[in-house]
């Protein structure tokens, strides 16, 4: 090319530096922004890769539902492509740490390797130990040495504990005792592990809130001896050479992963066999032990039984004998008694006879004695012989006396008889005298006189008798007495005689009796002695019999006692035996049951599911990778606007330049330069501007943007920031630069080509001015008429230069859109918190109880909360960590299923509403409400089915899931939730929910809350106490990261806006210098000129601004949905204030540009108006 031509180009640049700089600036911004954003992702990935490689992070992680043994590790190591392997033991547990309960992930650490490892600059941890993967980096303190020591993560935000503190493990997903020897871990250091690059969550778990809050490394000394490995980490040969999660990396890793998966069946069978074999071995020992012990015990029991039976038989025999003996004894006794009675009777009878004989004898003797005594005493003799003699004497005397007396008695009898006749005659005489008295008295004297003779006879008789009596000389009484005495004497003699005869008889009788008595006595005595001897005899016999009986009784008694003892003993023995038997039965049936169970368990040992997981399935790495990917998608969209604007700026700028150079082009053409050569000037001009701009922009922003983005992400990721200079990805740089320069050149070509088609002559002539046109607005006469001319011309101008109009509007709307996206993103991010907590979630306190809690525990907690007076709005819910899916998608995501005990209370604690319509949603016991993000992910609408799946310990969905029919889609920002009414829940789980999570509102006083938390932690079963404020703060921190990117966006948008506006205004004025000059000549004041020109620009800015709002809404929606993670939904509405800011900021830039452009208007020389149109 000719040097003059080059000079011309150089001078063009110098002469229009503003234009050159404008193109340069816009290209720099476009390319730089594109390249910078594009490099963020790769830079982030390469940083992560450096960290991963430097710490020898695993490429694949193999987990099994039944763990692994040493053999499994061997098997895995031998698989092709597997480089190093490291088995590890990991378990999750709820722990008390500082003042909180947190979910921790406990992993075994290779102690020796850890101690010998050397931290290196920035990323790496060097180690000479083969197979030492995932090397953590010690940050503070030291590595654990012995049982019960641990290091904790150094990357936990706001940790209120440190070295020296103790972690108390409460319960785990598995039985902690199976995994660990200790329940308390003392923190001896802090470390950072590349396995947990994401500090927002170290992983998911079924415990607590579902997220791992802390990870812990312990030495193998703290791990239970027979705990199986829970996972095998391995590196893949060749993977270290590739950038983590790049396509090449994935290819390399996937090849090995596939090999492992292909061998999965084999591995899992082997594991099954190993487990079965080792378990069977142990069980067989147990079986043997069982059998031998059972045999022994059985024998013992049987012996005891035999003994007992013998004893029983003996006892029974004894009893029988005893009974016999008893009977014998009884009959003996009876016999004895009867014989005894009999004998006695006889003896007694005999005795009685003797006694009566004796008595008789004695009586007789008595009589005899008495008779003799009487006789003797009567007779005054002292023996019978004397008595006889006396008696015989007496008898003779008496016979004499008798004969005398008998003579007297006969004399006296005759006298007495005389007396008797005298008394008789006296009685007769008296009776006649009386009769005469009575008859005289009664006058019967004749009769009386008749009787008188008799009386005189009688008296004469009497006198005769009396003479005889007087002769006898005795009175009657004397006679009488003498007679009586004589009779008596006689009688006495008679009696005496009698007596003597009786006496004599008596004496003889007595003599007889005496003899008799003596004989009787002898007889009696003989009988007596005989009886005595008999009695003696009998008694001796009886005594003997008695003794015999007694002896028998004693024997019997003894036998009885013995038997009783034996029986007691036997009973005891029997009871003992029964106990023993029962114990035996229990023990061995239990044991058998257990053994059988164990056997069944062994038999039931299924093939374990073995999963090979790569880094995309590791939450931390995947989240980081996803974030890097998000930056990629943002990088794909945003710079598009910049390029678009760059193209527009170039196009108009170059168009203007070509227009300005019309005559020159004509001249060149006339001089014979080819079209290409002329076009080359402009292309070169634009190309140089573009190239310089691209280079400057790319170099600068590929450092600045990734640095800002990575700095932002370093808040939530432990991946270190690459030190300056950051690597520049040549591919991206070239693509971006090429695109930038290409767009500029294309725009330039577009501008030049039409002019170049014209013939030189036409080019030399002034271009015909663009025709004025009526615009639509004029047809609305009432408005149009009211407009001043400057307004009219402004309006017409707006639509007259379509290209300029479009460019300005698109450029400005692009900037506004970017600003709006920035502010909108800011809104979206903070809305997550601002809308979630308050407008939707009204409760601010969550108290969780552990899985074993029962109604009473929950009641205790809720009662306590109520009693404080600081807590209200208590709602009890059942919280299930599950996975959700839908028939429309293979993907499943973690969801929190909330089943409230009272739907009504739930609806008070959470506002269920549709975000778009703002209408409230009904929540009752049959309701199934899914949160909006979930519904968007699976395209769920009311009436569709959502599937919820249970998950296993490693967080895989299991089973076929349970379908729930969605009854509403609820606005929600944090987390994915399914609110299920208790009736609806029944279709998922038959178990009655405990509702062991409590939502409540607590007085927002820090001290009150701390006190309540402390109290709650002392209540049995309480595992988590979370105040939303803490969650909010955590989110704020996480979100401030994205906010940083928003600031970058806003600043870039602002720069873009300024460049576009400046350029446009510049061109606008440049195109209209003549018009401006004319106006000035016409006497327009400075202000009027400003108004005339700037109003148009301002109006364009406002239109662009307004359009940008519309454009921005769509762009923001795209960016928001791109930047969103599964777990949160960003706010979907841009705040009015943000529209205001974006709008005002664009206008502010416009004003700024206008102000800076004023002097340019001032500088327009009126002389220009006199020049010809060229």
């Amino acid at each position: 090319m000719q040097s003059a031509f080059l000079k011309d180009i150089a001078r063009s640049v110098r002469g229009s530096l503003g234009r050159f700089l404008a193109i340069m600036g816009i290209v720099a911004l476009g390319c730089g922004f594109y390249a910078g954003l594009q490099m963020c992702g790769p830079d982030m990935r390469s940083d992560a890769d450096a960290l991963y490689d430097g710490t020898n992070l695993w490429d694949l992680r193999i987990i099994s539902t039944l763990g692994f043994g040493r053999d499994d590790v061997e098997r895995v190591s031998s698989i092709e492509g597997v480089n190093e392997t490291m088995p590890s033991i990991t378990c999750d547990a709820m722990a008390r740490l500082g003042t909180e309960q947190v979910a921790v992930r406990i992993s075994s650490l290779r102690m020796k390797a850890a101690r010998e490892s050397e931290p290196e600059e920035l990323y790496a941890v060097a180690s000479g130990t083969a197979g030492y993967l995932n090397r953590p980096r010690l940050v503070e303190g030291r590595w654990p040495n012995k049982r019960g020591e641990c290091v904790v993560s150094a990357d936990v935000p706001r940790a209120d504990y440190g070295i020296g503190d103790t972690i108390e493990l409460l319960y785990g997903t598995a039985d902690l005792d199976d995994m660990l020897k200790v329940r308390k871990l003392r923190i001896v250091g802090t470390a950072s592990s590349s396995n947990y690059p994401y500090t927002g969550s170290f992983g998911s778990t079924t415990l607590g809130s579902g997220m791992i809050d802390q990870y812990v490394f312990v030495s193998p000394a703290s791990i239970a001896d027979d705990a199986p490995y829970t996972e095998i980490y391995l590196t893949v040969s060749g993977a270290v050479d590739e950038t983590s999660e790049s396509e090449r990396y994935e290819e390399v890793v996937d090849a090995t992963k596939r090999r492992i998966e292909d061998l999965g069946n084999e591995l899992s069978s082997a594991r099954q066999a190993d487990l079965k074999a080792s378990a069977q071995e142990k069980l067989d020992e147990k079986w043997d032990e069982y059998r031998s012990e059972r045999k022994k015990a059985k024998r013992k029991l049987n012996d005891a039984k035999t003994e007992l039976d013998d004893a029983k038989r003996q006892i029974e025999d004894g009893e029988r004998e005893l009974a016999d003996g008893e009977a014998q004894y009884q009959s003996g006794l009876t016999e004895y008694e009867s014989q005894r009675a009999n004998g006695m009777q006889q003896l007694d009878d005999a005795q009685a006879q003797i006694d009566s004989g004796q008595a008789e004898l004695d009586a007789r003797r008595g009589e005899f004695e008495a008779g003799r005594g009487e006789l003797l005493s009567q007779m005054g003799v002292d023996s019978l012989d004397g008595a006889q003699q006396a008696l015989e004497a007496q008898a003779a005397q008496l016979a004499e006396q008798r004969a005398s007396l008998e003579g007297q008695v006969t004399q006296l009898g005759e006298l007495i008889a005389t007396f008797a006749r005298r008394s008789e005659l006296a009685a007769q005489a008296e009776a006649l005298a009386l009769q005469l008295a009575q008859l005289e008295e009664a006058g019967m004297d004749e009769q009386a006189e008749a009787l008188r003779p008799q009386l005189e006879q009688l008296q004469a008789g009497i006198a005769a008798i009396d003479a005889g009596i007087a002769a006898a000389g005795m009175t009657e009484e004397q006679a009488q007495a003498a007679l009586a005495a004589a009779t008596d004497g006689l009688a006495q003699i008679e009696a005496g005689q009698q007596q003597v005869s009786t006496g004599l008889a008596s004496v003889s009788q007595l003599r007889d009796a005496e003899a008799q008595l003596a004989a009787g006595q002898a007889e009696l005595d003989e009988g007596r002695s005989e009886l005595a001897s008999q009695r003696e005899n009998a008694e001796a016999q009886l005594a003997q019999a008695r003794d015999e009986l007694d002896a028998a009784a004693a024997q019997l008694e003894e036998a009885r006692t013995k038997l009783a003892d034996a029986r007691v003993q036997y009973q005891d023995g029997l009871a003992e035996y029964r106990d023993g038997k029962k114990e035996f039965d229990d023990k061995f049936s239990d044991a058998l049951e257990q053994l059988r169970d164990a056997q069944r368990e062994i038999d039931d040992i299924e093939k374990p599911d073995i999963y090979a997981l790569d880094r995309t399935q590791s939450e931390g790495a995947a989240t980081y990778h996803a974030d890097a990917g998000r930056i990629d998608s943002i990088a794909d969209v945003f710079p598009f606007i910049f390029f678009l604007v760059a193209a527009l700026v170039s196009l108009t700028t170059m168009t203007r330049m070509v227009e300005d150079d019309r005559v020159l082009i004509g001249t060149y053409k006339a001089l014979g330069y080819s079209t290409g050569a002329i076009a080359a000037k402009y292309l070169a001009y634009a190309g140089i501007a573009g190239a310089v701009g691209a280079t400057v922009g790319i170099v600068a922003l590929s450092q600045v943007l990734p640095f800002i983005v990575m700095s932002a992400y370093s808040i939530i990721y432990t991946v270190p920031i690459h030190p300056f200079p950051l690597p520049i990805d040549l591919g991206i740089a070239l693509a971006s630069g090429g695109l930038g320069v290409g767009v500029t050149l294309l725009a330039t070509w577009g501008a030049v080509v039409s002019s170049l088609r014209e013939v030189p002559a036409a080019l030399m002539l002034p271009r015909a001015p663009k025709a004025g046109k009526r615009i639509l607005l004029e047809r609305i006469t009432p408005i149009w008429r009211r407009l001043s001319f400057t307004w009219k011309v402004t309006c017409r101008n707006l639509f007259r230069y379509k290209r300029r109009f479009l460019m300005t509007v698109i450029g400005i709307s692009g900037c506004t859109a970017l600003l709006l996206v920035g502010f909108g993103l800011h809104d979206a991010i903070w809305d997550i918190i601002d809308r979630q907590y308050g407008p939707i979630i009204h409760y601010d306190t969550t108290v969780g109880l552990d899985d074993n809690a029962i109604e009473l525990d929950v009641r205790r907690v809720s009662d306590y909360l109520e009693s404080t007076g600081e807590v209200d709005g208590i709602v009890r819910v059942q919280n299930e960590n599950m996975q959700a899916g839908a028939p429309t998608s293979d993907e499943k995501i973690r969801v929190n299923v909330v089943i409230p005990r009272s739907a009504e209370k739930m609806a008070e604690a959470v506002t269920f509403r549709n975000r778009l319509s703002g209408e409230g949603l009904t929540f009752d016991d049959d309701a199934v409400l899914v949160t909006e993000k979930l519904s968007l992910k699976y395209g769920l609408d009311v009436g569709d089915d959502i599937y919820v799946y249970d998950q296993d310990d490693v967080g895989n969905a299991v089973g076929d899931g349970h379908a729930l029919t969605v009854t509403g889609v609820a606005e929600n920002y944090v987390g994915n939730l399914v609110y299920v009414g208790r009736n609806a829940w029944k279709s998922v789980s038959g178990a009655k929910p405990v509702f062991s999570t409590i939502y409540a509102s607590t007085t927002p006083d820090e001290r009150v809350r701390t006190a309540i938390t402390d109290e709650l932690h002392d209540i049995e079963g309480v595992s988590t106490v979370i105040y939303s404020d803490e969650t909010i703060n955590m989110y704020r921190k996480m979100l401030s990261v994205v906010d940083m990117i928003v600031v970058v966006l806003i600043v870039s948008a602002a720069a873009l806006a300024y460049i576009v506006l400046y350029n446009l205004t510049n061109i606008n004025i440049g195109e209209r210098v003549r018009e401006i000059a004319s106006l000035k000549v016409l006497g327009f004041t400075r202000g009027e000129v400003y108004t005339y020109i700037f109003r148009e620009i301002a109006l364009l800015a406002v239109i662009g601004d307004a359009l940008g709002m519309v454009f921005g809404i769509f762009l923001e929606r795209f960016v928001v949905t791109t930047a969103e993670v599964d777990y949160v939904m960003f706010g979907r509405t841009i705040h009015p204030a943000s529209f205001g800011y974006a709008f005002a900021l664009t206008l502010a830039f416009t004003v700024l540009v206008i102000i800076s452009m004023r002097h340019k208007l001032d500088r327009v020389d009126m002389v220009e108006s006199l020049k010809s149109v060229d």
């Binding site: 001319f789 009219k792 018009e1075 000059a1077 000035k1080 006497g1083 327009f1084 006199l1170």
Partner: protein, 235 residues
């Protein structure tokens, strides 16, 4: 002696372009009386455009005095000059300089709306014979018609002085003559002072006063007692 309507007194204008001093006008003296039809004539580079600029209030002299209707234009500041252009001067450009986006009548109104005693636009339009084309855009008008609009725009301001820069320069002969006629008639019928700046000496015939400019000076100022009618001029 009463003051002339327009008076140039020893007016100099020196442009400084880098190290070079260009004396565009050097000691210019002339006067113009009210109601005169004046032609300022001279070859290219004689300084007539400078005179026009200074007289039109677009440029200030380096030294000397310019007076219009008793006002000393030469001592005016920028603001006063703007007011001066606005109220006292009606300017007609060689290339009309109509605002393309305004119709003929609107172009007139554009000027009239900024001055104090404007003439009704319609009247002015009919005065220049364009009452039929009032609502046409400049691009729909011929060059002569555009120039008429331009004249109408200048007249509508009711200026003290109508200043025309080569008003026929972009026009063909016949049209040019018609425009000259219009200007002459305007001067005659309204008594307005009209000054035409041109390189065409043929115009001198129709002027009341001819100011011949050469090498930065008013070489001669002649008055014409019987100026010819514009339609009779030939060139």
């Amino acid at each position: 002696m009463p003051m002339a309507f327009v008076e140039f007194k020893d007016v100099c204008k020196v442009y400084r372009m880098g190290d070079v001093e260009v004396r565009a006008v050097y000691g210019m003296d002339f006067t113009i009386e009210r109601g005169e039809f004046v032609v300022i004539v001279g070859p290219s580079g004689a300084g007539k455009t400078t005179v026009l600029n200074m007289l039109g209030g677009m440029d200030a002299p380096t030294s000397g005095t310019i007076v219009l209707d008793g006002k000393e234009v030469s001592s005016m500041g920028e603001r006063e000059l703007t007011q001066y252009r606005r109220h006292d001067i009606g300017f007609v450009f060689q290339f009309y300089n109509l605002v393309q986006n305004l119709t003929a009548v609107e172009n007139v109104e554009l000027a009239s709306q900024i001055c104090m005693n404007p003439l009704p636009a319609e009247d002015v339009m009919s005065m220049v014979g364009l009452s039929e084309r009032m609502n046409n855009f400049p691009s729909q008008l011929s060059g002569g018609e555009q120039q008429r609009v331009a004249i109408a725009r200048a007249l509508a301001k009711n200026p003290k002085l109508l200043l025309c820069d080569e008003p026929t320069g972009a026009l063909d002969y016949v049209t040019g003559k018609q425009i000259l006629k219009l200007l002459q008639d305007t001067c005659r019928t309204t008594g307005r002072t009209v000054a035409i700046v041109t390189h065409n000496s043929a115009f001198t015939q129709i002027a009341d006063r001819v100011i011949e400019v050469r090498e930065g000076k008013a070489r001669s100022v002649t008055t014409n007692d019987h100026p010819a009618d514009a339609m009779t001029v030939e060139w």
